[in-house]
């Protein structure tokens, strides 16, 4: 692939309209054009993005030698989505700090020198009888065998935000460390003890999409209810219908108590007597600070709702009782025998902290001759220094890092052999037992990196020329899969002839199968398809002592920076934190009452101190932490990790000691801090204005009980929106049936529209980052972000009403009567025949009037000409121009994709129209959304989601009084805490909450919603 390199010069380099001073461009054609690639047309390669404990099947968008974007792979049984992490991996692929080649003691070296050095080090260690050890994150598939054979089993696969407690609990409960599989699709009740299963770092492989299905009444007349037991309600927890703010470290007590109550209700208490032996409702209530009634309520829901599933704690639950909590959730799931819980989750080797600590001990003892450290998580910076990892690595006889990015772990190693990443390498991963994701390189290597497999094979060959397997890594993966494929690769007689002629290589049939597998990107083994129930052993759960002490420090994983591996990704830093809107820095979440007690407010510096150390960090006053808890995110505060990560935020590890749970797993939680106001201001940058939408109709609620029976069926339960109010239209105009002063524009073929389901939206930020990737949005940095100049076209608004969090992604609404259009003096923005609000950058003179007129605040202005440090510019989309200074920009509904898909259909006939199926996930945001919250379509097509959803009772349009007739409509969030609105004989009757001023009638829709407003 990529023979001869890139084709044309990079075209996305700015609106350069100064014609006399533009240099002549050069054209570099391919030497021989690869068959799959057509210059000017994107080619999609199935690939896998591995991110910590999670792996995602995606499609890499290839243009002229480089990967410019990732799109959802809609063929795999896993979620068809582009999670934020996949996009962050893409940006990491082009990180300007990525190593240009191998390093030896900080100095550049060559592969020809580095690989023999590795081989001789291994040979020396083996000769001396010392260990060759491997330290890295989770790896699965063919590479694991290669690693094992190189290290002789001395391999530690440990993730900082890993699932070792779950594995330990699985060992305890089921006798095997293989993780169970969760399938939330049919769950009516999801009880989470803190796992970030909605777009976070937990790694539940598709749980976000499954939950979206369970949540939507359109998939089976129910609305899943989500309860969270955790001292902190983060991005995932924000979706919880019920938040039980249990004290930090008491989740296991609650889980076991609930299990006991549920078992009693189900009458299976005796069967689980051993496991439930430690359960005590009163003690759990005392430890957690929840009332017994609350625990009983959880149990009631868990036992009575048709299908309930409990999720473990993830990072949030990794306290001294981490394993106990995981085990308790397993027991809870077993008690109800829920189909949502079965065997066959992530199978790959998971090492516990104890295993890592054993390696550290070996290293310090000098018994490790060669230490190989994988790319990925920067454990030295992530883990508290009390674990002594850095010193241990330095104590190794020889240490080799495979990191292609600078990090503290890499800096501790002697030699760095940067490896190719997922976009450059062959590979396979088993994300869920039996489901294999296979990948091929999808772009030319950005830097002089080598495949990990090839490095290991070359080392092996150097050590043992006779015993080493033949072929390169690509051939090894192919051979492994062709061997595994067996009868999956049907052979024809013709193939047999060819096979006879060349007996050693793979047959054409096998090659055909392999190529189609690569094209699909996955192989589903029979073991994946069949769900296997889990049966518990006998045993019991030892609950840790109830936590006590002053302020608890709750450590959580920020959804973008995660364990810090994306801290050097500008997108991860500049995409606003979903809950706080914070960018470029760390902040401690403090409950308003606690903040008042400490005498601090937003952006005040707070000194947090433990006996391990202290940190000064800015305060974000936040209602979603317990009063006795402060919350601080992991993954920031790096040194030597690259230009964007260094000096950004603080590293929470400085406050922590070596915390382990009862079974030797990593415990992030449990530290107690002393907090004192520093009396100085921090430098926090929040992109959020007011938390409250002031009843302006930006965030709406529908009663779940009203939605569940009918879903979004047409004309169902109109007027169910709770608390909807707006300005009534003039009665005389209503009587005359006049909607607006001017007629709505005509849209002869398409009127593109977008539907955003705020009930499905989890605020995971995938859409916002996908938009950055697709539309060449520049990253402006902290200083400019503080001035409010971040360029995101999608603003995931977060409103808090009555303790509920609403995520409302807001982009240009492509209004029918757009206030921005009529005010532009030079017609740089206008309404197209397709109903889009066009923005012609090169016509814009920059009056910024449009942004002032826009009631949605959707327009962004280029205050400067932003550039992309090399090689981040290689990620730029050539179909979208990079804007220069002084130009307004905004969401275009990905007009470049619309243009392409229209062209693609026009290729087959001049008057061909694009069908709905090709439009649904066309825009980058809709394509990315793992919750299926965003759907694109043609409003002129009654069957399209945007057209049909406008007839739903959940449909609403923010600030409809402005009468802009937007092309984006929103669907209200379902609530279990609101009674359905009273149904009157017709709409327009009051809805019981007192401030309703008419509801269904002010959703101006042009497609279908033509009924005249009937206001009382």
């Amino acid at each position: 692939m990529g023979v001869g390199g890139g084709a044309t010069a990079l075209t996305a380099c700015g609106i350069d309209d100064n014609l006399y001073f533009t240099p002549v461009e050069t054209i570099l054609p391919y030497v021989v054009r690869p068959e799959a690639v057509t210059p000017g047309t994107p080619t999609l390669f199935a690939t896998t993005v591995v991110t910590g404990a999670d792996a995602w099947p995606v499609l890499a968008v290839h243009r002229e030698g480089r990967v410019i974007n990732v799109m959802a792979n809609r063929q795999t049984p896993l979620a068809a989505a582009v999670p934020a992490a996949a996009l962050l991996e893409l940006q990491r692929h082009y990180s300007p700090d990525r190593f240009a080649g191998p390093l030896d003691a900080g100095a550049t070296t060559t592969w020809d020198a580095a690989i023999p050095k590795l081989a001789s080090a291994v040979a020396k260690a083996r000769a001396e009888g010392k260990k060759v050890a491997w330290l890295g994150g989770y790896r699965s598939g063919t590479i694991v065998g290669l690693i094992q054979s190189m290290t002789g089993g001395e391999a530690v696969f440990f993730e900082g935000l890993g699932r070792d407690a779950e594995a330990a609990a699985a060992e305890l409960v089921f006798g095997s460390p293989a993780l169970p599989r969760y399938d939330l699709m049919g769950a009516h009740y999801v009880l989470s003890f803190g796992a970030d299963f909605l777009g976070g770092a937990w790694g539940g492989a598709g749980t976000q999409s499954q939950y979206a299905m369970a949540r939507s009444a359109n998939h089976g007349n129910f609305v899943a209810r989500f309860a969270l037991v955790s001292p902190h309600k983060g991005q995932t927890g924000a979706r919880a219908d019920d938040w039980y703010a249990a004290a930090a470290g008491s989740e296991a007590h609650v889980a076991l108590a609930v299990a006991k109550l549920v078992a009693e209700k189900k009458g299976v208490a005796s069967a689980f007597a051993g496991w439930l032996a430690g359960a005590d409702v009163a003690a759990a209530a005392a430890a957690s600070g929840l009332s017994e009634a609350a625990i009983a309520e959880i149990a009631e829901h868990f036992a009575t709702l048709p299908s309930a599933v409990a999720l473990p704690g993830g990072v949030a639950g990794s306290s001294a009782g981490a394993t106990a909590l995981a085990a308790a959730t397993y027991v809870l799931n077993l008690v109800t025998a829920t189909p949502a819980f079965s065997a066959g989750g992530y199978p790959g080797p998971i090492s516990t902290l104890a295993r890592l600590e054993a390696l550290v001990a070996d290293l310090k003892a000098g018994s490790v001759g060669v230490l190989l450290v994988d790319d990925g998580c920067d454990l030295v910076s992530l883990l508290p220094s009390e674990f002594g990892l850095a010193e241990a690595i330095r104590a190794a006889g020889a240490s080799f890092s495979f990191s292609s990015h600078p990090s503290a772990t890499q800096a501790a190693c002697q030699v760095t052999l940067p490896i190719s990443d997922a976009f450059e390498d062959w590979g396979d991963e088993e994300v869920v037992s039996g489901l294999w994701l296979v990948r091929q390189p999808s772009g030319a290597p950005v830097r002089d990196t080598r495949s990990l497999g090839d490095i290991l094979l070359a080392t092996w060959r150097a050590l043992d020329p006779a015993g080493a397997p033949a072929g390169n890594w690509h051939e090894r993966v192919r051979a492994a899969w062709i061997a595994a494929a067996g009868e999956m690769a049907p052979t024809t007689t013709e193939d047999a002839v060819v096979a006879d002629a060349e007996p050693t290589g793979p047959t054409p049939a096998q090659l055909r199968w392999w190529e189609s597998t690569l094209a699909a990107g996955f192989v589903a083994m029979p073991s994946y398809v069949s769900a296997r129930p889990l049966t518990p052993r006998e045993g019991q759960i030892t609950l840790p002592a109830a936590p006590s002490g002053d302020l608890a420090l709750h450590v959580y994983a920020q959804p973008f920076r995660r364990d810090g591996r994306y801290a050097n990704s500008p997108w991860a830093q500049e995409t606003p934190d979903p809950m706080t809107g914070q960018v470029w820095g760390s902040f401690v979440l403090v409950h308003p009452a606690t903040a008042a007690k400490l005498g601090v407010g937003d952006n005040d510096l707070l000194t947090l101190a433990t006996d391990k150390g202290s940190l000064d960090v800015g305060v974000e006053v936040h209602p979603f932490v317990r009063e006795d808890t402060v919350a601080l995110a992991l993954g920031d505060g790096h040194t030597g990790a690259g230009r964007y990560a260094d000096g950004t935020g603080v590293n929470v590890a400085a406050l922590l000691g070596a915390q382990r749970d009862g079974s030797g797993c990593l415990a992030w939680q449990g530290a107690r801090v002393r907090a004192t106001a520093k009396g100085a201001k921090a430098d926090l940058v929040s992109t959020f204005g007011s938390d409250d939408h002031l009843g302006r109709g930006w965030a709406e609620v529908v009663a779940a009980s009203a939605w569940a029976p009918v879903g979004d069926a047409a004309a169902a339960h109109p007027g169910d929106l709770v608390g909807r109010h707006g300005l009534p239209m003039d009665v005389r105009l209503q009587k005359a049936g006049i909607e607006d002063f001017y007629e709505l524009p005509e849209h002869p073929v398409y009127r593109f529209g977008l539907t955003i389901d705020t009930d499905a939206c989890t605020g995971c930020g995938a859409c916002a980052i996908a938009c950055y990737a697709e539309n060449n949005l520049p990253v402006v940095g902290k200083v400019k972000a503080k001035q409010g100049r971040e360029m995101g076209w999608i603003r995931v608004n977060r409103y808090i009403t009555d303790g509920d969090v609403h995520f409302v992604p807001l982009m240009c609404q492509q209004c029918g009567h757009a206030p921005c259009e009529s005010v532009c003096p030079v017609l740089a923005t206008y309404h197209t025949l397709d109903g889009l609000n066009a923005m012609i950058y090169n016509r814009c003179v920059g009056t910024r009037y449009c942004a002032n007129a826009c009631p949605y605040g959707a327009r962004r202005f280029n205050y400067h000409t932003y550039l992309w440090p090399e090689p981040l510019n290689l990620q730029l989309n050539p179909d979208v121009v990079a804007r220069t200074m002084g130009v307004m920009e905004k969401c275009t509904f990905c007009v470049q994709r619309i243009r392409r898909v229209k062209d693609a259909y026009r290729d087959r006939g001049f008057n061909n129209r694009v069908p709905d199926a090709a439009l649904r996930k066309l825009t980058a945001c809709a394509d990315a959304c793992p919750s299926d919250a965003i759907t694109f379509g043609n409003l002129n097509d009654e069957a399209s989601v945007p057209a049909s959803s406008r007839k739903s009772g959940r449909n609403y349009i923010p600030i409809p009084e402005i009468r802009t007739f937007p092309a984006v409509n929103y669907l209200a969030r379902a609530s279990f805490h609101h009674a359905p609105a009273a149904h009157g004989a017709g709409h327009g009757e009051g809805h019981g909450d007192g401030h309703g001023e008419g509801h269904g009638d002010h959703h101006p829709t042009e497609a279908g919603g033509a009924e005249p407003p009937a206001h009382h």
Partner: protein, 191 residues
């Protein structure tokens, strides 16, 4: 008064004749005399626009500049409509804010402004055309005293045969100085 009519013969080489008045009432008398004598070819100069002088000279005839103004304003009104309407009609699919291609309400502002703009410019052109500025006036008219405090009645080219008669008439009406030919000395008044 009964003076005979004086006719200027253009084929006859003329003589510059200038009467300077220090007083407004004398000037008015001079103008009245010239009018009564049906004398032609004279110009009155004054340091300021006294309506008595203009009434005496033009006898209430309005200035034709007003037709320029009217024409300019009407043209401006139409241009103010046609420019936006025709240019918008050239791009009927470029539709900002849902307004009709030709929208009278927003165009009314342009029409108003163009009416004023073109009316004013036409007025200016009319003024320049009719009053002959910028112009190379006859030397006899270039008298700095006029812009200071004096009034004049000037014959840039009085018929030789009439000069004496005119002189007498002008002196009689109170001219403080009556000169002929190029004998007048124009000095810049001391500031």
């Amino acid at each position: 008064m009964g003076h005979a009519a004086t006719t200027v013969h253009h084929d006859e080489p003329g003589v510059r004749l200038k009467a300077v008045y220090a007083h407004l009432d004398c000037l008015l008398a001079g103008i009245a005399r010239m009018k009564a004598d049906h004398t032609e070819g004279w110009t009155v100069q004054s340091p300021l626009p006294r309506h008595e002088i203009l009434e005496a000279v033009y006898e209430g005839r309005p200035s034709p500049v007003r037709w320029w103004t009217l024409t300019g304003a009407i043209a401006g009104l139409h241009i103010g409509f046609l420019l936006p309407a025709l240019t918008a009609a050239q791009w009927p699919m470029i539709n900002p804010g849902g307004k009709p291609v030709v929208s009278l309400v927003p165009y009314a502002v342009i029409m108003f402004e163009c009416t004023i703009l073109f009316g004013s410019i036409a007025t200016l052109l009319g003024l320049m055309f009719h009053s002959g500025v910028p112009a190379m006036l006859d030397r006899s008219l270039k008298d700095p005293r006029v812009t200071d405090a004096s009034f004049t009645i000037v014959f840039p080219s009085a018929p030789r045969s009439q000069v004496e008669k005119l002189k007498a008439a002008l002196v009689a009406t109170g001219a403080i100085e009556v000169t002929t030919g190029d004998d007048a000395v124009y000095e810049v008044p001391n500031v």
